[in-house]
Symmetry: C2
Subunit: 220 residues, 2 copies
Amino acid sequence: MAADDGKRKISESTIQRLSIYYRVLSILKKEDIKTISSKELAKQEKLTPAQVRKDLSFFGSFGTRGLGYPVTELKNRIANILGLDREWKVAMVGVGNIGSALVGYKEFQRHGFTISMIFDNDQRKIGSNHKGILVSDIANLKEGLRENKIDIVIIAVPATVAQYIVDDIVEAGVSGILNFAPINLKVPDHVILRNENMSMELEHISFSLVNRESITATKE
Amino acid sequence: MAADDGKRKISESTIQRLSIYYRVLSILKKEDIKTISSKELAKQEKLTPAQVRKDLSFFGSFGTRGLGYPVTELKNRIANILGLDREWKVAMVGVGNIGSALVGYKEFQRHGFTISMIFDNDQRKIGSNHKGILVSDIANLKEGLRENKIDIVIIAVPATVAQYIVDDIVEAGVSGILNFAPINLKVPDHVILRNENMSMELEHISFSLVNRESITATKE
DNA sequence: CGGACTATGTGAATTCATTCACAAGTTACT
DNA sequence: AGTAACTTGTGAATGAATTCACATAGTCCG
């Protein structure tokens, strides 16, 4: 009943954590656990109970004092908040190494993201089937996205051509883009763009390793 | 000359941004640009000049007032900070959809991460070649990692078995792990673990889309 | 039904990250 | 040499996110 005037500013990290809670709740539900406290939920993912409660409180109050949160209800509520209670129509652009792997990635399907179109510019791939999906010519990208009412596009093409493709995607009226090319793409404000840069994660690890080593070295 | 006592606390986001600066500097170098100001550098990635300067200042002062930063020198310095000026020996565990794609991912190689071992438990894959690398039996994981002095392991196996594998990896003395399984893995404090969860990014997009829509709806 | 216990929800306090704003150093031009 | 124009590096100010701490509300059990 509380808090749904669509005005609050939710932080990036809160959203990330909602995804995490959702994952945990899915497992709990499968294990037939009925309720969970913020303390337990936090422990599973190395967070603090206060943070769990604060995160959830942005969207309402779902818990019962003295008892905790009802697993199924909370899971459904988070699904609703994250928009996972509907099917999203997703297209993949670029079906090389990464693109091809993602088309077969079960996890996407499980969360309501259905990849139903694939585009590529390689003549040898166009017309062929990838996991049951026809590979279309990237020349038809704009019309294809429009006709099929695609919600979200995943970009897995070389960095050099990514911007041109994004421009087309935006023109086609798509407003959710997940980019795997290691480059900063420009999109209008109303378009939601997220970047997934796997090298960056490895670099983070190497930074930490180098750092850790220097600390260890001075310690002993 | 300044700031190298290995005691400062560098924030996660600063490290992420160093990766970004590094990428931009690599491009600038290729374009034969000699110097860049914090203002320009910031503009490329939609950051603020102050943030660029602050980030860099944690590690020393590399710039020249009135002029900016020397591209090549700064690039090298960041490479050093991030540990990209050496070769890291990387092993891949699990060569399904994702794992297989990552083995062929050029970007890793370019940043000094060389995947030289692959492990899997599928008898049909063991002994075969993947992009020129022999697929080993996961039963030999521990010895394999030790013998080959692997620095970093990438995990691309089903969530259900990921924890067992991590335990082995840790026992083998590896202290950098990049995990693609959608599960929170437990590791000792001295081990650096990073998670890459691609569904989470999609969920972030769907959250934003749902949110944006509701805002648009009330606006008109 | 009553008392001990448990856990939420949330303002206030704290910690952490970003941005501001400016002194100080350097260039470039006359 | 002098001056106008830049740009860094960094304390101080602001802003954002996290944690604390507790009043409040429910559970559970005898």
